[in-house]
Symmetry: C2
Subunit: 136 residues, 2 copies
Amino acid sequence: MSDDEAILAANAAYYRAFSAGDFAAMSRIWAEDGVSCVHPGWTPLVGRAEVIESYRSILTSPNRVRIVHRDDTAIVTGDDARVVCIEVVEGSALLAATNVFRRVGGAWRMVHHQASPIAMPIEDNEPTPPRGQRLN
Amino acid sequence: MSDDEAILAANAAYYRAFSAGDFAAMSRIWAEDGVSCVHPGWTPLVGRAEVIESYRSILTSPNRVRIVHRDDTAIVTGDDARVVCIEVVEGSALLAATNVFRRVGGAWRMVHHQASPIAMPIEDNEPTPPRGQRLN
């Protein structure tokens, strides 16, 4: 498996854990050190304890939303990698997401996540807009 | 200068270039390879050409906003580093920002930026809320 494939697989595993509400898997996905996270609308979280606790809260919430990811693009530099992608929340709202990974002991672990709303919702069955196009 | 100090200085230089509308400085701040950017409300931009062009457009716009950064926290791992911080836009609106840097030839160059709105504006003269606290 190439680094790109491994990173895209790690990115997919994050969304699988999120969709399944699988906190144990989510906890394994995140690295032990150097982690941070910006959930939509939140101020930054820094450190594993804060980040993991936020996921415990989100994944066990009765209001947990369904998220599908698409348009994943991997950027790999040595032992560090990023995926930028689009999150489709509950089939309509769109977020732009960045997931940062670091290779630790041969495995890609997540060290940062940020998702932010895209200004204008687009229909899920419309063609994907050009990457980076401003939608409003 | 420690790595943390160097990273925080690089982060400050980014906002200085932004505030001054200094496109040449902004262009030098960004790395040559492996860059991506998510401006507020935008879909992800990938690659130096797209990212730099977006800054040319933003920095030369008559509607360019004033941004002050605060609560900078540096996370350094080898040749890769992140700063999470708060952006105060035009003295009121708050964004949560992540700036990712990579050490290239001894200098820290920016490889990723993302800023996303914080749900509830807070008064600039109020105490900073605990990092990571959900504001709504």
